[in-house]
């Protein structure tokens, strides 16, 4: 989420982190306590994978559905399907024996309601007899002969209520329907049924009463709900270790230290503990979609950690002498802003999701993801530095063979930067073309969902569901609850005829394969009482007759047999429509037309019908999902626009920052449109999440460009040349972390999560690519005032940075080859920029002797050629690793006895000290060492350069080895440096520098310095380098200041090393004594 390059150390921050590190044990204990406090709720986490979970509490649709279910005792059942593709289908002794045995065994399964089992073995046939009506089971004991089975078949097929519901119309399958007890564990029941079916089938095969072609399947809405919970739990327990493993591998490859691998994982644990722990504490269950929450939190948390670690290692790489605590404080002070900013934008994305969502799981997702991300932020800024300062992992030295080599990532990014800087218009045209294609794809997108698709295609439950719905009239129910004003109003033929008409209307709808209601039973009884004459399969005209039928039924059947169809006082009933799938796109017109039919054709003061059931309920919450997706996306985009506008204080930059994420969302819609991925439960949130995550790339890119163009006044091309290998490279790793984090979801067994992971990964990839290319090109073309306002006068053309020239040599093929290699080789973050550092380190470590004395003649020439000559003497001595140096002016008399003393401490945590003795005041003035970028007493050398003497401070610069060249016929390696922070740049007075190093002597032969704005400032030539007492010594320095036209020429003579120099010579009080030559 963050860059490692664009950093700004601020004093308050570094003080804060120093203070934090001073109290690190307290911080660590505090953080772990806080994690523990919230994390202790984790074991109390519950799961709710039912469709009802998606319906807001208090929803009228849910309340009505619950009411109807309680009136009629309906519950999502477990279903066992027995299939046989033989000639007689399931009407064989073996198959019916199986039905019988399973029915009996089912009653013994823990959690199954023994009184709510429905099968051919429990259902009763309604037949007319001479005495009236006979209600009897299809068999008392399982049929033993084919004749008996045929008789049963005849009776079943004459009982229309059985067909398509309990027995397939072609006789090839039958169902056993079992309802579970209220407190039963549906998942356990499902597995018990699987075991039972397997056991009975094995027994049947072994005992020989069961044919080989018998198929046994367990499914049903109860099984789906029950098993989905366990399925998702298993998926999570598989995904999370994979995510952790992948991240550990990335960390190991990136940092190659134990601490670098372990500590981010600790932050991840803390983040997930708080994210999910707070969810558990709030009593929010784990929903189907919140299963992806831990993975997302892992990805985001580790991202923050990676950036801190990267910065930490860079601090150490740039300054190996840095103490662990100081390195941590510096890394933190450099990174807290980007970490915070990207946290805020990501939180904004999730809050947008939460605000726009009307469905509880999505609201929870948004809220607890935001809490988790804030926790990640807190642990990253508090716990990580505290732990890091304890472990103090060090940078491993880079092997010689790897020195002076760019990492793959840098090479790619440098080359890409070259393309962008060179062809901005072409990139924008390509983007526009892509936009047109994307719009085309996005228009094809379909909003849809199907619950069974939460299981993989090969999952037994989904297979079973497919088979059952293929052979029967469907296990998905669209119900109509019928209500009349008075008891026994449902004996009235006109009411029953209305219900019959409703059923007929429903059965004519495409997608509804069967309907069932009390009317069917009444007609069956009427026919039975008329000797089975099909002509009497109709509603009697006399209400009294109908009442008698029910009385008759109760005489031979169970009075409770109709409890699922009609209430006890015959006032309410329900019609059940069967559908073979709950595909939203197919269901929507059916539900809508049913509601319309009920309103326009059915409802009257005498009778009223309301749609309900699982299909109606799904419709009621899926319908607003499409709107939520759009609103969530719009809100997230708006929040991103607002936050980036505020951050950049420019609406134009805010809009530009929002463009890449808007484009990436469009691209993903296009991919969904072209590949047929639905926007559904799992994928509806990707837009808001992708916006929150993807905007980081744009913000970092613009922020860096703003620094380079507006603050440092670089040309656009030059800025892009710097942007890509620095910020761009860091963002590339950022992308890899995010893509891998979400990529883990692609291995999920829950297909919507697979799609979700894939789409978010594509979205962040698109965001990254568009931010780095199209957006950067757009900035180059539009030249927004917020970036270019102060540059317009001097900016006339795009310059050609060195990086661009490099691209021509690399070529497209090499780029592609490198890209493909990238997949297999993730280069070490810490090692990559070490080439330049190694060279400068060698310069830094060049022997200087313990003591040195030299005469310095300063010849200062102004632009008109007027010269000022000053004589000085320099003494230098090392006190351990600390260096003390004193310079006395000898001539002319006006400045004689002016003395400058420096204490240069090896420990960067200790501020250097400087004193200036001014004879005119006869006082030694303590002077600020932070003025090191000021020119030393009128020369063109800064205090820093006078102090360093042909060496460069390693802790102030980031070095890059940029090539080789010749200086005065000597082969040199060229190293370019940029100050590590803006503060250091301001202190040194340089925005950039280039040094030409003679590797044979490790001396700087030439130095070029550029000011903060990037303009060439001065050139220093170091000549007459000779070995004195085995130490390479510069005897002549010429510095040309290109801005002022001033020149400083230093002639160094009478150099002596290892001479006895009294410690007192470097004491502040001795400055006033002057020097004894």
């Amino acid at each position: 989420m963050n860059t490692t390059e664009h950093t700004e150390t601020d004093t308050t921050a570094i003080h804060f982190f120093h203070r934090l590190l001073r109290w690190r044990w307290l911080v660590i204990i505090g953080c772990f306590l806080a994690i523990g406090l919230v994390g202790r709720y984790l074991p109390t986490m519950t799961k709710d994978t039912t469709p009802e979970a998606f319906v807001p509490k208090g929803s009228p649709a849910l309340a009505f559905r619950d009411h109807v279910e309680s009136v009629f005792g309906l519950k999502d059942p477990m279903v066992i399907a027995i299939t046989s593709d033989g000639e007689r289908g399931i009407y064989t002794p073996g198959a019916l024996q199986l039905v019988h045995r399973l029915t009996q065994e089912l009653a013994t399964v823990e959690g199954v309601d023994p009184d709510a089992i429905t099968s051919l073995a429990t259902e009763k046939d309604i037949r007319g007899t001479s005495d009236g009506m006979l209600v009897e089971p299809f068999w008392e004991s399982p049929p033993q002969s084919t004749a008996e089975t045929q008789a049963i078949r005849n009776r079943v097929e004459q009982f229309p209520l059985m067909l398509g519901t309990l027995v397939s119309r072609d006789g090839s399958a039958t169902l056993l329907i079992a309802e579970t007890l209220p407190d039963a564990d549906d998942e356990q029941v499902y597995h018990a049924l699987l075991a039972l079916t397997e056991q009975v089938k094995t027994q049947g095969l072994r005992e020989g009463w069961l044919a080989e072609d018998i198929g046994l399947y367990v499914a049903g809405q109860g099984a789906v709900s029950g098993y989905l919970s366990a399925y998702i739990a298993a998926d999570a327990s598989r995904l999370n270790p994979i995510a952790a493993l992948i991240i550990t591998i990335v960390l190991l490859l990136a940092f190659r230290t134990l601490a670098g691998t372990l500590l981010p994982n600790l932050i991840v644990l803390g983040t997930v503990a708080v994210g999910l722990g707070s969810m558990a504490a709030a009593g929010i269950p784990m929903y189907v979609i919140t299963n992806s929450l831990p993975v997302i939190l892992i990805g985001i948390a580790v991202c923050d950690s990676i950036h801190i670690f990267t910065q930490y290692y860079e601090e150490l790489a740039n300054n190996p002498g840095l103490s662990g605590r100081e390195a941590v404080a510096r890394a933190m002070s450099a990174m807290w802003r980007p970490v915070t900013l990207t946290t805020l934008t990501t939180v904004a994305g999730f809050i947008g999701l939460s605000l726009a969502a009307s469905l509880p799981p999505m609201q929870s997702y948004g809220i607890f993801a935001a809490i988790g991300i804030l926790a990640a932020w807190a642990w990253t800024l508090l716990l990580l530095p505290a732990l890091l300062s304890l472990f103090r992992p060090r940078v491993k030295p880079v092997p010689e063979t790897q020195k002076a080599k760019h990492g793959i990532a840098t090479t790619i990014m440098t080359a890409s930067g070259g393309i962008v800087a060179r062809y901005p218009s072409q990139i924008l045209m390509a983007t526009a073309l892509l936009l047109v294609i994307a719009v085309g794809g996005a228009t094809r997108i379909e909003f849809n969902d199907q619950r069974i698709h939460s299981f993989q295609e090969q999952e037994p439950l989904r297979v079973a569901d497919g088979i059952i719905n293929q052979r029967f009239d469907g296990t998905y129910y669209l119900d109509v609850a019928i209500e009349t004003p008075q008891p026994e109003d449902l004996f009235l033929p006109e009411n029953l005829r209305k219900i019959e008409a409703l059923q007929n209307w429903m059965e004519q709808r495409e997608g509804i394969y069967n309907t069932t209601s009390i009317v069917d039973y009444i007609k069956q009884m009427h026919q039975a009482l008329h000797e089975g004459d099909p002509a009497y399969y109709a509603i009697p005209d006399d209400p009294a007759l109908i009442a008698q039928y029910f009385l008759l039924y109760s005489a031979s059947g169970d009075p409770d047999d109709f409890e699922e169809e009609i209430d006890y006082d015959y006032r309410q009933a329900h019609v059940r429509g069967q559908l073979r799938e709950d595909n939203f796109q197919n269901v929507e017109p059916i539900v809508l037309s049913l509601k319309q039919y009920l309103d326009e054709e059915f409802n009257s003061p005498a009778i009223r019908g309301d749609s309900t059931g699982a299909i109606d309920l799904s419709y009621s919450w899926l319908k607003p999902l499409a709107g939520n997706t759009a609103a969530g996306m719009a809100l997230a985009l708006m929040l991103v626009l607002v936050s980036s506008t505020l951050f950049f204080r420019s609406l134009v930059l805010g809009l530009i920052a929002t463009l890449p994420v808007a484009f990436s969302v469009l691209m993903v819609f296009a991919i969904m449109g072209y590949t047929g991925i639905w926007i559904g439960i799992g994928t509806s949130m990707f837009a808001a999440i992708a916006i929150g995550l993807g905007v980081d790339f744009a913000i970092h890119t613009i922020d860096r460009l703003r620094t380079l163009i507006r603050d440092q006044h670089l040309e656009y091309g030059e800025a892009v040349g710097i942007l890509f290998p620095s910020t761009g490279r860091a963002l590339l790793f950022n992308l890899l972390a995010l893509a891998l984090g979400f990529g883990v979801l692609m291995t999920s067994k829950v297909p919507p999560l697979q799609d979700f992971g894939l789409l978010v990964a594509i979205a962040v990839l698109t965001s990254f690519v568009i931010s780095m290319t199209s957006m950067t090109a757009l900035i180059g073309v539009l030249r927004p005032r917020a970036l270019f306002a102060k540059r317009e006068k001097s900016t006339t053309k795009l310059s050609t940075p060195l990086a661009q020239q490099g691209f021509a040599r690399i070529g497209l093929l090499k780029l592609l080859a490198t890209l493909s290699l990238l997949a297999f080789a993730i280069p070490s973050v810490a090692d990559d920029s070490n080439a330049g550092l190694q060279i400068m380190q060698a310069v830094y470590e060049r022997p200087e002797g313990i003591t040195q004395r030299a005469n310095l003649t300063l010849e200062l020439t102004d632009r008109r050629g007027r010269k000022r000559v000053q004589q000085t003497i320099v003494l230098r001595k090392y006190f351990g690793k600390d260096k003390r140096q004193v310079l006395y002016y000898l001539e002319p008399t006006n400045v004689r006895d002016t003395a400058f003393l420096t204490y240069d401490y090896a420990d960067p945590a200790t501020e250097d000290e400087q004193w200036l003795y001014l004879p005119a005041l006869r006082k030694t003035r303590r002077i600020s060492a932070s003025d090191r970028g000021d020119y030393f007493l009128g020369t063109d050398l800064t205090y820093e350069e006078m102090k360093r003497q042909n060496k460069i401070s390693l802790e102030d610069w980031r070095f890059t080895h940029v090539g080789e060249s010749e200086v005065d016929g000597i082969k040199t390696v060229t190293v370019e440096g940029t100050p590590i922070t803006k503060q250091v740049a301001d202190e040194l007075g340089y925005g950039r520098a280039r040094w030409y190093i003679d590797p044979a002597t490790n001396t700087i032969r030439r130095a070029e310095n550029f000011d903060i704005q990037g303009n060439t400032l001065k050139t220093a030539l170091f000549n007459n380098i000779r070995e004195i007492d085995g130490i390479w010594t510069v005897h002549e320095i010429t510095v040309d200041n290109h801005k002022t036209g001033h020149q400083t020429h230093l002639q160094i003579t009478d150099v002596a090393y290892e001479i006895p120099l009294d410690d007192d010579s470097f004491d502040e009080r001795t400055l006033r004594r002057g020097v004894r030559q």
Partner: protein, 436 residues
């Protein structure tokens, strides 16, 4: 026995001479000329030429000799009209006047030696303590010549004294500086009629409505018994440059007592012994340098209204402290702010000064063109009376050893204030300095 004595003597000489280095003689100096015009009436205030010849001899024995003289010729003679009586100056340190316009002075003449790893400086010299600029808290070792009030650089206005200074290390952290000043020389204040003769009640004897019958000045004159001495301990503690100072000395300003007589008032001036305890501290924090200084002087005498004390003075202790902040955050620029407060324990008695007096200074200095051009502004403000001094200076180093200078010094405020009394002395100055 003689042999042993010779060995010891040789050892002492060797120790005294160490460290031995090559002998050298350097003769140089500075010639400067300035012309100041009073802005109030366009009269010339001074037109002077100064020659500062310098001799440095680095002997091969480790003993160095430095001599600096000053020859000053002022065509105007308004700063010290005639030939000053130099009553406050010891006979060893007096200037020689060659007529009213020309004076010659041995500014400094000292030898430096390094016996036993210590540092010894003997002779006529300037010893400077303290950290403040423009105003003084601990910088009381050498007296000052107020020929141009405080406009002349301290380097030039400070009166060098014959003294011995011995610097030594006490341990790893602490260094000591012991000074002995047998030279009974005190502040030299211009006589009435001089351009910068003080008229402020704080600096001059309060006028009386009774006639002054006579004036006597009693000045210490015993070389050792009346010598000043002091000790400075210095150290660096956690980045702080610290000093602790003690000076047993005669206050450089005479106590002017009035003795009522029948015919009028007799005025008697005398120098009084006092102890000054104090310390200073400085440190740098980023772009800022903090300087602080404090001194307590035991016996200070200030003027009182005639009716209060019969001899017209009040004795008390004076605590002076100063804090300054230098900011060097901008390239080639120094901004320095100082606050100096002086608290006089006058025990409720009325006096010519307030119990607490506060001064503030602001210095803004910026150099241009590789320090060839220096623009310097200094404001010194007396917070209590509202008077002050604004100095604006532009210096241009035409060559390394040739400097051109233009300067304006503007006093403002009440005529009774220390600065305001010279309101009519505002001047514009041009000059050059040449080193050789």
């Amino acid at each position: 026995m003689r042999g042993v004595t010779r060995k010891i003597t040789a050892g002492c000489i060797f120790a005294l001479m160490s460290p031995i280095s090559e002998a050298s003689v350097r003769v140089g100096g500075i010639v400067s000329a300035t012309h100041a015009v009073q802005t109030t009436d366009a009269d010339a205030q001074k037109s002077e030429v100064i020659i500062l010849p310098q001799l440095e001899w680095r002997s091969p024995f480790g003993i160095d000799l430095t001599a600096i003289a000053r020859i000053r010729a002022d065509g105007q003679n308004r700063l010290e009209p005639g030939e000053p009586d130099q009553a406050a100056i010891s006979s060893w340190s007096r200037r020689a006047f060659l007529g009213p316009h020309v004076e010659a002075e041995l500014r400094e003449f000292y030898i430096e030696a390094y016996p036993f790893g210590t540092y010894l400086k003997l002779g006529k010299q300037q010893i400077v303590w303290g950290q403040t600029d423009g105003l003084k808290v601990l910088d009381r070792v050498n007296p000052q010549r107020y020929r141009e009030f405080i406009l002349e650089e301290f380097e030039s206005s400070r009166i060098p004294l014959w003294a011995a200074k011995w610097e030594f290390s006490m341990n790893k952290d602490w260094n000591g500086q012991l000074i002995l000043l047998p030279d009974q020389t005190y502040h030299e204040v211009p006589a009435a009629g001089a351009a910068y003769a003080p008229t402020s009640p704080e600096l001059a004897v309060t006028r009386s409505d009774r006639p002054v019958t006579g004036y006597t000045l009693e000045k210490p004159d015993r070389v050792l018994a009346d010598a000043d001495w002091g000790l400075q301990l210095s150290s660096r503690v956690r980045g702080w440059d610290l000093t602790l100072n003690y000076l047993y000395h005669y206050a450089d300003t005479p106590v002017i007592r009035r003795f009522e007589q029948e015919s009028g008032v007799h005025v008697h001036g005398s120098y009084e012994r006092t102890h000054t305890f104090g310390g200073s501290a400085s440190n740098a924090f980023g772009d800022f340098t903090l300087r602080a200084e404090m001194g307590y002087t035991t016996n200070r005498y200030i003027q009182a209204p005639a009716a209060v004390e019969k001899d017209g003075v009040i004795r008390g202790g004076e605590l002076t402290y100063a804090a300054g902040v230098d900011w060097m955050g901008l390239s080639d620029t120094l901004v320095s702010v100082q606050l100096i407060q002086s608290w006089f324990d006058r025990d409720g008695m009325p006096a010519a000064r307030n119990t607490m007096e506060t001064d503030a200074t602001l210095l803004v200095e910026r150099t241009f063109l590789n320090e060839v051009l220096t623009f310097r502004n200094q404001l010194i403000q007396d917070i209590d009376t509202g008077d002050g001094l604004l100095s604006v200076e532009l210096a241009y180093d035409y060559l390394a050893n040739f400097e051109l200078r233009i300067e304006a010094n503007l006093f403002y405020g009440s005529q009774y204030g220390r600065f305001g009394q010279f309101d009519a002395r505002d001047h514009l100055l041009v000059g050059f300095g040449y080193g050789f």
